[in-house]
């Protein structure tokens, strides 16, 4: 170290590693600076499970096909059209080849077990999960001769006229506090772990948000880039947020704090009032809307309430439900007003109309005469013990980012492409995801643009 690298990659997750490997395979000398300690390497990628890729035919791991057009339509639907069509279609096309490329980098897919999630057609699952995937990428990168340094937080970037010159470090590495490189790949994730920044858009409510992933994604690199003239993309209030258990740790609780029991009961706020149609849509959409809904409630807290007849209908949960033999007892444990909760449940039960329950389709179990209605899967809550999960908004990742071209090259505010700066992953996800989310796209964005960014950065460095 000390000598100048061809390509400097900032970050240590999927996007960063794909970029590093691809740059190294392109003949460049590569340094990866990961801000986190080794155990926490790989940011939110550690918590992922699957990736969405287009493919023309079924494979060992995927039932199929999932065509480019279908992927595009899914993306259009979740984003309500807020996406850069050229970039998005480019990404979808490239995603086909990523399925194989990623395997060549040592990542293994899990044969479809037909298990927990109904994503066997669109999404490929990493064998052993995201951390296993990352371990494989790190092994490959190291084998190829990529240098990786942990605990290497970048605190400043030296950029002149859209040209990256050097990165400054929080602590010296081999005596150096500044690393120069011919090209830069920024793959340092979003700013979801930066509560102060979230507060700019969400106000004090952000204090009650739980961050599902790494505490190290504080958006510092994103902020530096935007401050130094890189063009911004995306709405800062848009992000992927789900309702997770209120007892989860503030950071890094990962996948296991989620709840998907909403359809089996009702959701009330701290005044014991319902506030949204719990039967609106099927998974995964309903999964992705409840984070925002809870964020809009007083004190950002809500309670999923159901009864003992449905406990085995959804995934087992990390935290046990809170139980009461009567509604009043349950209310007491949740610190809700017992009379109010009893009233809400009595009214709800009275509004339930008979139907045939089937949680896999939009069934005909509905309520009549209450607001908000429950338009599917409505069944009376009447068999003790009564049960509840407290939930809070759980932020998965943010969409504000740097604008890029198809070559993953950053665009400057004046519309000119940067000479040597590239971005991949969550830091530029907003180009594709204006809002909404479809499971597995985070990894697609990281792998596809990471691979492109690495290749282009290496090409630039060798010219």
């Amino acid at each position: 170290m000390g000598s100048k690298y061809d390509v400097l990659v900032i970050g240590g997750g999927n996007a960063a590693l794909c970029a590093a490997i691809s740059a190294r395979r392109g003949g460049a000398s590569v340094l990866v600076l990961e801000g986190a300690p080794k155990f926490y390497r790989g940011g939110n990628t550690r918590h992922t499970r699957n990736m969405r890729c287009a493919h023309d035919a079924a494979t060992e791991i995927l039932t199929g096909p999932y065509t480019e057009d279908e992927f595009w339509e899914d993306l259009l639907r979740v984003t309500s059209g807020q996406t850069d069509e050229v970039l998005a279609r480019h990404m979808i096309r490239e995603s086909k080849d990523i399925l194989n490329w990623i395997v060549e980098q040592g990542v293994r897919w899990q044969p479809s077990l037909g298990g927990t999630l109904s994503l066997g057609r669109t999404n490929s699952f990493f064998l052993g999960g995201g951390r296993a995937m990352l371990n494989a990428l790190y092994l490959t990168a190291e084998r190829l001769g990529v240098d990786v340094v942990y605990d290497a937080e970048v605190t400043d970037l030296v950029i002149e006229d859209g040209m990256f010159l050097a990165a400054r470090l929080k602590r010296p590495i081999n005596g150096e506090t500044e690393i120069r490189a011919t090209s830069l790949v920024a793959a340092a994730g979003g700013f979801e772990a930066n509560i102060e920044w979230l507060k700019q858009y969400w106000g004090e409510a952000a204090d009650n948000f739980l961050i599902r992933g790494t505490p190290y994604n504080r958006g510092s690199i994103l902020k530096m880039l935007l401050d130094k003239g890189v063009q911004e993309v995306g709405d800062p209030t848009q992000c992927h947020a789900v309702a997770i258990d209120a007892r989860a740790p503030k950071f890094d609780g990962g996948i296991i704090t989620r709840h998907d029991s909403v359809v089996f009961g009702i959701v009330v706020n701290k005044h014991a009032q319902r506030f949204y149609d719990e039967g609106e849509d099927i998974w995964p959409k309903r999964y992705a809307i409840w984070g925002r809904l809870v964020a809009a409630q007083p004190d950002q807290i809500a309670y999923i309430i159901f009864d003992s007849t449905v406990v085995n209908s959804f995934m087992p949960t990390l935290f046990p439900p809170i139980a009461g033999q009567t509604i009043a007892e349950l209310a007491g444990k949740l610190a809700l007003d017992p009379a109010a909760l009893e009233k809400t449940i009595t009214e709800f039960n009275a509004a339930v109309r008979p139907g045939t329950f089937d949680h896999t389709i939009l069934d005909d179990c509905v309520t009549e005469g209450i607001t908000p209605p429950k338009t599917h899967w409505a069944r009376k809550i009447e068999t003790p013990p009564y049960l509840a999960y407290p939930v809070r908004p759980g932020i998965t990742f943010t969409y504000l980012g740097t604008r890029v071209t198809k070559e993953a090259r950053m665009l400057m505010a004046d519309g000119k492409p940067s000479a040597n700066m590239f971005a991949a992953g969550e830091i530029m996800a907003g180009n594709v995801l204006g809002k909404g989310y479809a499971a597995g796209m985070g990894m697609t964005i990281g792998s596809v643009f990471g691979r492109i960014a690495g290749r282009e950065a290496a090409k630039h460095a060798r010219n």
Partner: protein, 366 residues
């Protein structure tokens, strides 16, 4: 609340894993776990014995320490597994032997070998013990075949009885609520899974020993040990048939079947245990159950001793060392037999039973 502290911890981890399930493609433990929502002691002992300690779910887990969820499945299941051996041991009064297994094995081995040497010497004069004996029946100059057969059959039958009784208790406990007797198809599946060590492969890449770089080393040495043991067993069985059916007495020439099988097996029993021991020394301490270190090493040492004395006997059988070596070898084998039900040997039996149960569950669920 469970019977022991480690089962409480195993239960906590199963709750975490069951709400995560990222590892479901790595081995049989996870799919078996997913078939349950609550875990009895028997369930946890079953899962513990299904685990092959490949380490993959530790290296791949986003919640392994230092994460506050502190998920260390390989270690927790290793401790639970070791405790389960004692829990099901027959007769129960001897279950304490597991705890001090290293010591017990060395004492039993030393006593058995001394007994054989002294016994040989007492049965005849010292000249016999240190004499040179060759040709068919040479071994029986030191100890009549009848006596040898009686002694070893008794030890062997005791071991078999104790093992059957123990595994029966285990089987009953892990059987609920699925229950039922083992069926042929499931047994056949389990033989294949055990025979190829299907789950000692970290989901396909190998085992995680000293660090996060997987290797197949442990699997290789385990294969050498296991098949070495089976070959030695086959050698003894063939020799027994020779003796009773063909009236041919040991020792046999080097090219004859019992010696060929015994030689191959002996090599396996020397290389395999040494390799396993070195792998254990190098293993990441985070994955190891230190409390059963004595038991593991004791068993490895017994296998090595058996292999080593057997091979030496083969090489030096026409010299004056034959007598003492035969005594040592027989002593080692004897000690191996009678300590079998109270040491690491049982891991194979319990794991096999767990694999049968797993095959059965898979078939019922399918």
């Amino acid at each position: 609340m469970h019977g022991t502290r480690i089962l409480d911890e195993a239960d906590r981890l199963m709750t975490v894993c069951n709400s995560c399930r990222y590892c479901e493609g790595l081995c049989a433990v996870f799919p078996a776990m997913e078939m349950r929502r609550a875990f009895s002691d028997g369930d946890l002992n079953y899962l513990a014995n299904l685990c092959h300690s490949c380490g993959a779910c530790y290296v791949d887990c986003q919640f392994s320490p230092p994460h506050e969820f502190n998920v260390n499945l390989p270690k927790t299941l290793a401790v639970a597994r070791a405790e389960s051996y004692a829990a099901y041991a027959w007769p129960q009064v001897l279950s304490g032997a597991f705890a001090r297994n290293g010591l017990v094995i060395s004492i039993v081995a030393a006593l058995s070998m001394a007994a054989f040497i002294l016994g040989f010497a007492a049965l005849s004069d010292r000249g016999v013990l240190f004499g040179v004996h060759t040709g068919p029946g040479a071994f029986y100059k030191l100890m009549p075949h009848q006596a040898m057969a009686a002694l070893f059959s008794a030890a062997f039958l005791y071991a078999i009885l104790a093992l059957i009784m123990s595994v029966r208790a285990f089987w009953r406990d892990i059987g609920t609520p699925i229950g039922g007797r083992a069926d042929g198809v499931s047994i056949f599946q389990a033989i294949r899974d055990a025979g190829e060590l299907r789950y000692l492969h970290g989901g396909g890449v190998g085992c995680y020993d000293e660090d996060d770089k997987p290797t197949d080393r442990r699997k290789l040495f385990h294969h050498l040990t296991f098949y070495g043991f089976l070959l030695c067993f086959a050698a003894t069985s063939v020799a027994t048939l020779y003796h009773y059916l063909l009236g041919r007495e040991a020792p046999y020439p080097w090219w004859d079947l019992p010696v060929v099988l015994g030689t191959l097996g002996g090599i396996g029993l020397i290389v395999g245990p040494i390799g396993l021991f070195l792998a254990k020394m190098r293993r990441d301490p985070a994955l190891l159950d230190e409390s059963s270190y004595g038991m593991d090493v004791g068993f490895i040492a017994m296998l090595l001793l058996t292999g080593l004395t057997g091979m030496l006997l083969l090489i030096l059988r026409e010299t004056a060392a034959m007598g003492p070596l035969l005594a040592l070898h027989l002593g080692a084998v004897f000690a191996l037999f009678i300590t079998m039900p109270y040491g690491k040997f049982v891991h194979g039996i319990y794991r096999f039973a767990a694999l049968v149960r797993y095959a059965q569950e898979r078939r019922t669920a399918a």
